[in-house]
């Protein structure tokens, strides 16, 4: 399985097929039992060996977008997005400027000072995407990012992910079984009977 910078690929399969497990391995959350994993030119796993600081790897190299936004309820939108660069040592003003830039790109800048509980589901998901992108990681792992959304909003999210991938040259792996967005992938990894099979997607234009 290989994903290039700026590319958005789909990871699909029936329930229980191991999509999430694969995503956790890719996200350096759990250790794979075998195989190797390379991010850019950095080896992360190699048959039992792994880099020492997986937490820093996740913080600096990997972005996550979840099925539920999981925003920090006691931080406002800007601070939810700016939290990661702040934790990484970026000055507050710079982190917030970067967050605001992303929020603007995702068209939720007008809710920058709102609390998460004040946002709609779509807005929360866009803020979650902004949080995943804010550290400009080379790879973003998205777990069912459109599951709770209707078709229009789901396609909008996919459009954003594609735009972000292009704009920031980020490789995005989207785990989904959402039939609405599967046609938007140009390339799909299908997990079937424990085997990952690469398939060509429709690559439908998102406009």
């Amino acid at each position: 399985m290989q994903v290039a910078p700026g590319e958005v690929v789909g990871l699909i399969g029936p329930s229980g097929s191991g999509k999430s497990t694969l995503l956790k391995c890719l996200g350096a959350v759990i250790d794979p039992t075998a195989g190797h994993m390379v991010l850019g030119d950095q080896v992360i796993y190699d048959n039992g060996w792994k880099v020492r600081d997986l937490r820093a790897l996740r913080r600096d190299q990997i972005g996550f977008v979840f099925q539920a936004p999981y925003l920090i309820p006691f931080l406002d939108v800007t601070d939810n997005v700016a939290l990661l660069p702040m934790l990484a040592g970026v000055p507050n003003a710079a982190a917030r400027a970067r967050a605001l830039e992303l929020l603007t790109a995702l068209d939720v800048q007008h809710r920058a000072r709102a609390m998460p509980s004040q946002l709609s589901g779509g807005e929360q998901q866009r803020v979650a995407i902004a949080r995943g992108l804010v550290n400009r990681p080379p790879v973003i792992l998205a777990d069912e990012p459109t599951a709770p959304l209707d078709s229009e909003r789901a396609l909008a999210v996919m459009r954003i992910l594609n735009d972000m991938a292009r704009q920031y040259q980020t490789a995005i792996i989207v785990v989904t079984h959402d039939e609405k967005i599967i046609p938007t992938f140009k390339r799909i990894y299908h997990i079937r009977d424990g085997v990952t099979v690469e398939e060509a997607g429709e690559g439908r234009d998102l406009g």
């Binding site: 999430s20 995503l23 956790k24 937490r55 996740r58 934790l87 990484a88 000055p91």
Partner: protein, 784 residues
């Protein structure tokens, strides 16, 4: 959370926390030991003074007549009842003469026999005289021998002697008969004057001995009141002064009278001056003999002079004077005082002038270093607590609400610590307020506070004479329920010896309202914790006391508020039995033949009187002259008076080390339990709050947040909860403390220790939540 920007939420939190902290600072500075002393000022006024003396006594008859037989006999008839009015010469009763009539008859017979014997003697004398004359004539004519005429002369002399003896016998018999008749006449009981039958001691059939009173008559026009005045305040008492007499049965109605005389003999035991006060007119209805009466004697008025409320009089070391406020700070001014009236106004002789302002009331004792806050009146009144702050906190949400809940628990913990401090402080206040440096108590006792102690009330005089003793005063302590309206209030009744305000140990050192005691009876100064107000009537035993002054922080070692009353009243209250018990005691005494001896009429009453009187006190408070070491003087008293003496240090040791040690241990256990419960609650709350954020923590871990950042976040929350809890607790404890039935003293050291303990508890309590948070698998954020 390092480097987080200040958000609106943070500002909102600060908006609540900052005022809370400000409130905490305010509470610390304006309540508890750091708070300024609230005082009330009053000006020295120039006005006339009407001094008066107050005493109590009993109604007595100036002339009373104990009427009884002069010889033993059985009472046959008694014609009068108690309360009957009788006239002079009226027959009141009759004693059965028994054998007296026979004795009179015998004397009559003896008289007649002697009369006959006299007649016989006269006849023999006439015969002997005629015979002697005839023989003389015959001898002159030498008709008979000289021997014959000499024999007739001797016979005449014998007849003359026999006649003289018979005359004397007759006189003796007449006297005997007259005596018997007189004795018979004395068996009739006759009223010597017009009066009222006050007592009827025996009934017909009873045998009475010579001198035993059968009935007692009094002259109603001679009623007076035998009044007792404390010697120390009896200055100016003189015959002829006008007086107001208030009988116990006619409270509120004053009868005019005047002082008839001052008794030349004062009562050396009770240290009272005795006086007789007569009624201006015979009271109708006639009061019963023995009824209690309150007498106010009006002394000559003092012309316009500077006067002051006696509540302002304080003592500073050995000086007596008042506190003035100079540039916001208290300054003691020594003052000489003169006459005083019963309303508590005292004449100022020297040291102050008209218009000078002095501190009249203060909520605690004042020193030169005291911070002062002037209030308009009644500094004992507490401001009403505003609940606005609590409402604001309540709306702050779950975290703050939880903090408040925790705060209440912390508040209880602080109050418990405050209760202990309060007990210690109560003990010290008890000692401070007594104004004593030595406590003289019954030998081998821990009295008067920790153990009962009885000392004769005249011992203090000999202690006064000991070297180094400046003042010594009796004192009694009695914890009891006193009546307040329809309810009871538990109080320690303190009997204070009569003396000069500010100079006599045992008096309340300061007041918050009213005045000090001026009457020797039936007045009280009460601690405001009793709930009494000025003018209230306190029921103690069978007497009622008018509250004339209020004080604060005058409590026993167990926290019972004090009620100060005159010593003699307190002695009576301490030992006075209920009326039923008194009657039973009297009957027992009457039934004892050793006390009820017919030939000693006054003995029974004397014994009964001695049983009802009390001559003991609980302790003697001693103040020392400057330069004398308490230990040395105490040792001297122990050695020479064979009494136990405690210094301040020793008495403090008894109070703190023995009296409240058990309570202290109980409170200590409570503190431990509360600390454990607090820790458990904080741990539970932090754990719950962490559990609520478990998904967010997983997300944070997933996106690379360091463990120490998450741990610090939880720790901060625990500490914030602790801070809020402590602030709320401190405020709660401070504002609720005055409403606790016991004195609660919140000292800054306890607050600091409490704060550190709360922080430590929060740190420890957060460990469970931190451990749980650090064990959260970041994979949980992804699900699947």
């Amino acid at each position: 959370m390092k480097g987080l920007p200040i958000s609106g939420r943070t500002l909102a939190v600060l908006a609540v926390v900052v005022p809370l902290l400000a409130l905490l600072v305010y509470v610390a500075l304006y309540s508890g030991p750091l708070a300024p002393v609230a005082v009330t000022l009053e000006s020295v006024q120039s006005r006339p003074l009407s001094p008066a003396l107050f005493g109590i006594g009993t109604v007595e008859a100036r002339h009373s007549y104990q009427i009884g037989p002069t010889a033993t006999g059985r009472l046959e008839t008694l014609l009068v009842e108690v309360g009957d009015r009788v006239q002079a010469g009226q027959v009141l009763g009759e004693i059965d003469p028994v054998e007296l009539d026979d004795r009179v008859s015998a004397q009559e017979s003896a008289l007649k026999r002697n009369q006959a014997a006299l007649r016989e003697a006269q006849a023999r004398l006439s015969f002997a005289r005629s015979q002697a004359q005839r023989y003389e004539q015959m001898w002159e004519r030498h008709l008979i021998s000289e021997e014959a005429v000499t024999a007739k002369r001797q016979e005449l002399q014998i007849a003359q002697a026999a006649h003289a003896a018979a005359s004397e016998d007759l006189a003796r018999a007449g006297s005997d008969r007259n005596a018997a008749i007189a004795q018979r006449g004395n068996l009739t009981l006759i009223a010597p004057v017009a009066g009222i039958v006050a007592r009827r001691n025996v009934d017909p059939g009873t045998t009475v001995v010579a001198g035993q009173a059968v009935v007692e008559l009094i002259d109603p026009s001679s009623l007076w009141v035998n009044v007792r005045f404390d010697q120390i305040s009896a200055g100016g008492l003189a015959a002829g002064l006008a007086a107001d007499i208030e009988l116990r049965s006619r409270a509120g109605a004053s009868l005019p009278g005047r002082v008839l005389r001052i008794e030349p003999m004062a009562d050396a035991v009770t240290e009272e001056t005795l006086a007789k006060v007569v009624f201006a007119g015979i009271p109708e209805p006639l009061p019963p003999i023995g009824e209690l009466a309150e007498v106010t004697v009006r002394l000559p008025p003092v012309a316009t002079a500077p006067v002051l409320n006696n509540a302002a009089i304080r003592r500073d070391g050995e000086r007596v004077g008042v506190w003035q406020l100079v540039d916001g700070s208290p300054r003691f001014v020594e003052v000489s005082f003169g006459a005083a009236d019963l309303d508590g106004q005292v004449q100022v002789l020297d040291g102050l002038k008209e218009g000078d302002q002095v501190i009249v009331y203060s909520e605690k004792a004042i020193s030169a270093r005291s911070r002062i806050r002037v209030v308009d009146a009644d500094p004992g009144k507490r401001p009403v607590i505003s609940l606005a702050g609590r409402d604001i906190l309540h709306s702050w949400g779950k975290f703050v609400f939880t903090g408040i809940g925790l705060g209440l628990l912390i508040g209880v913990t602080l109050v418990m610590a405050g209760v202990y401090r309060g007990m210690v402080d109560d003990g010290k206040a008890l000692l401070d307020n007594s104004g004593a440096e030595l406590w003289v108590v019954q030998q081998d006792t821990l009295g008067p506070y920790a153990e009962s102690s009885s000392v004769n009330d005249d011992v203090y005089r000999s202690i006064l004479a000991m070297p180094g003793v400046a003042a010594a005063a009796n004192v009694t302590y009695l914890t009891m329920q006193v009546r307040r309206g329809q309810a009871d209030v538990r109080a320690m009744i303190v009997g204070i010896a009569p003396g000069r305000v500010g100079a006599t140990p045992g008096w309340p050192p300061y007041l918050v309202a009213g005045r000090q005691l001026t009457r020797g009876h039936f007045e009280a100064v009460a601690d405001i914790a009793t709930g009494f107000r000025l003018g209230d009537r306190i029921g103690i035993r069978r007497n009622h006391y008018t509250v004339v002054g209020l004080t604060r922080r005058m409590v026993s070692s167990s926290g019972d508020p004090m009620v100060f009353i005159p010593l003699k009243d307190a002695q009576e209250a301490q030992f006075l039995k209920d009326n039923d018990a008194i009657w039973q005691s009297r009957r027992r005494t009457e039934a004892n033949p050793a006390f009820n001896r017919p030939g000693v009429p006054g003995l029974l009453q004397a014994v009964i009187d001695s049983q009802a009187a009390s001559t003991v006190v609980n302790a003697i408070l001693v103040r020392l002259e400057p330069g004398h070491a308490p230990d040395a003087v105490a040792e001297s008293i122990r050695r020479w008076k064979r009494l136990t003496v405690y210094t301040r240090t020793q008495m403090e040791g008894i109070l703190v080390g023995k009296l409240i040690a058990t309570s202290a241990r109980q409170i200590g256990m409570f503190l431990v339990i509360l600390a454990v419960v607090s820790a458990a609650i904080v741990a539970f709350i932090i754990y719950t709050l962490t559990m609520d954020k478990i998904r967010e923590i997983a997300v944070l871990k997933l996106i690379g947040t360091r463990n120490r950042t998450i741990a610090w976040m939880i720790l901060q929350q625990a500490l914030a909860l602790g801070v809020i809890g402590f602030v709320v607790g401190k405020i709660t404890a401070t504002f609720s403390a005055p409403y606790f039935p016991k004195h609660v003293l919140l000292v800054p050291q306890d607050s600091i220790a409490g704060f550190l303990a709360v922080m430590l508890i929060c740190v420890l309590a957060s460990l469970v939540a931190i451990r749980m948070a650090l064990r959260v698998d970041p994979a949980e954020a992804i699900g699947g």
